[in-house]
């Protein structure tokens, strides 16, 4: 093992807390049966959250609230719904996932790792100097990252472009973009939704991580989005609402893309920031708060309990 590789797998993070080794669980397809799929995704999400909170603690930075709200969505997509694997990550016909809410980078990296795209040991480099795992995902650094994101309101227009490309090629490949609900305050999203709806880009699926909180306050108290479903429908979307922490429900929703109507799909996934940790859930303070060692320990115990 080279000095650099040794550096990648510390037994302890810089705070002295033990680091869980994240397993590589890989993708599971529908032939395994719905029950097995849901159990696989639930265990993967639990493992991802365990590693994610330790990464944030070790880095001393991160956006744990919005990560915990979106993890079940990302796990369902990368470990089941999307047709992309580490072997097909550059295949032109792969499905695309764009994480527009790029501040949830740690959730993306841990999910990509458990799916086999990033070596688990590399997670220890998160936000370190010269790391490939930037504080916000960069497409030039990680093969599975389809778009460099971080500033909000970029992912949806890019996803519309990839969907256009698929349509021009007559390809069945799908593009899924995950946006935060607060992020929808950026006008670029509505430019893109207008384009997607008018051009009936059925191969596009927009997932709204509807955790109802943004950095400083509730979305409703900042610049409200409601009636969100009506707005999305008015823009030409097929709208589905789902419990964003229910893996079975998410599996069913993604199985129905593209919609029979020929419209792009918008999935409003109802989630909670910080879910399912008792002291974080639905608390705006946890947008980018770093947990104390005691809080990490408490969270890890809570994550042991199904």
């Amino acid at each position: 093992m080279s000095a650099v590789e040794e550096d990648l797998v510390p037994a302890l993070d810089p705070t002295g807390l033990p680091v869980d080794e994240l397993p590589v669980m890989g993708r599971i397809d529908a032939s395994a049966g719905r029950e097995a799929v849901v159990a696989h995704l639930a265990e993967a999400a639990r493992q991802v959250r365990r590693r994610d909170i330790q990464m944030i603690r070790a880095a001393g930075l991160g956006h744990i609230g919005g990560e915990f709200s979106v993890i079940d969505i990302l796990v369902t997509l990368y470990l089941h719904a999307l047709d992309v694997t580490p072997q097909t990550v550059t295949d032109p016909e792969r499905d695309r996932l764009i994480l527009s809410k790029g501040h949830a980078a740690a959730a993306l990296y841990t999910t990509l790792s458990i799916a086999g795209f990033i070596p688990p040991a590399e997670l220890s480099t998160f936000m370190r100097p010269l790391a490939q795992l930037n504080g916000h995902p960069a497409r030039t650094k990680i093969a599975a990252v389809e778009a460099s994101t971080g500033p909000l309101g970029h992912g949806l227009p890019i996803a519309v472009g990839t969907a256009f490309g698929g349509a021009l090629d007559g390809s069945p490949r799908r593009t899924v973009v995950v946006v935060g609900d607060g992020e929808l305050q950026e006008g670029s999203n509505w430019e893109a939704l207008m384009t997607a709806g008018n051009h009936r880009l059925a191969n596009l699926c927009v997932v709204v991580d509807r955790n109802r909180l943004q950095q400083g306050a509730r979305v409703a108290d900042t610049n409200d989005l409601e009636p969100l479903a009506d707005k999305l429908r008015a823009f030409g979307m097929e709208v589905v609402e789902v419990d964003g922490h229910d893996h079975g429900a998410l599996v069913d929703v993604f199985a129905a893309v593209p919609a029979a109507s020929g419209r792009p799909t918008a999935v409003i996934a109802h989630t909670f920031k910080g879910h399912p940790i008792s002291f974080m859930s639905d608390d705006v303070a946890w947008h980018h708060k770093v947990p104390s060692p005691e809080q990490v320990a408490t969270a890890l115990i809570e994550l042991e309990t199904p």
Binding site: P92, R96, A138, R139, T140, E146, A147, S148, T149, G150, P151, G153, H154, L156, P157, I158, A159, V160, G161, T162, A163, F164, G165, G166, A167, L168, D169, T175, G187, S188, E191, A192, M194, T195
Partner: protein, 321 residues
Amino acid sequence: MSTDTAPVPATERALHDCRDAFVATLLELAADDPRIVAVVNDSVGSSKLGPFGTAYGPRLINVGIAEQDMVGVGAGLANGGKIPFISAAACFLTARAMEQIKVDAAYSQHHMVLCGMSPGMAYGELGPTHHSIEDLAWLRAIPGLTVVVPSDPAETAQAVRWAAAHDGPVYLRISRMGVPDVNPEGYQFVPGKAVTLREGTDVTIVATGTVVVRALDAADLLAGAGISARVLSMPTIKPLDEEAVIAAARETGAIVTVEEALTSGLGGAVAEVVVRHAPVPMRFVGVPDTFAPTGSVEWLLDHFGISAEGVAASAREVLGR
């Protein structure tokens, strides 16, 4: 001076709209390469892309008046292996979608061509909201973005061909302002290389884009006054041809830059090289730190001294002659 050697004033030369060369070249390239697509913001007419839509239908994507979406869509198309030419009025493309240019194009190192149409003061009468005099200063500050400013139809065509083949983001500044042919027959555009249009020993005039012809006319005026001016055309603002600039400073001892933009564009770029490698006196012809008033582009260029006379005066001033 006899009549047959006298310079032909710009107004008496055959003038061309570089957008015609842009579209003709794009049509040719698209015929052989299905990856080439165009993305516009209700700018089919102002980009002269009507024939592209006629020929290639769905490969012309009009997102409407939505510049952030337009550049993001281009990045997504590039993700899917397309080569998008994103074409819109330079003032809106650059200013409204600056973060998309920075993040989706440059930081992401996508193969996409951002075509800023009618930049500088080409929309003279429409006023400062429609002028794009900041674009060169803004875009040359973005890491990893190549900034190309063709000066005539031949160079425009070459630059379009090069950008279509170059695996990286490019900003191509294409004017509607009438320009004569300034490059020699058989000219070959080389990215990052200046073109010596005239040799000279007393001073070098470095010009870019639409106003290269005015620099040539200035050199004629200076020759009449016994001053030998080198004229460098600088079609690539970034990466800049540092070697040519350093040689000009060392060999001619004084530099004047000329651009249809704020002088923090080409002028700033040249000055950064000169001050580091070969400090010599410089003058900057372009728009100073001000919004241009309303007027025709020709009137505005003269107003700011971006004229043969104005450039010659700056050269004489820097030489103290």
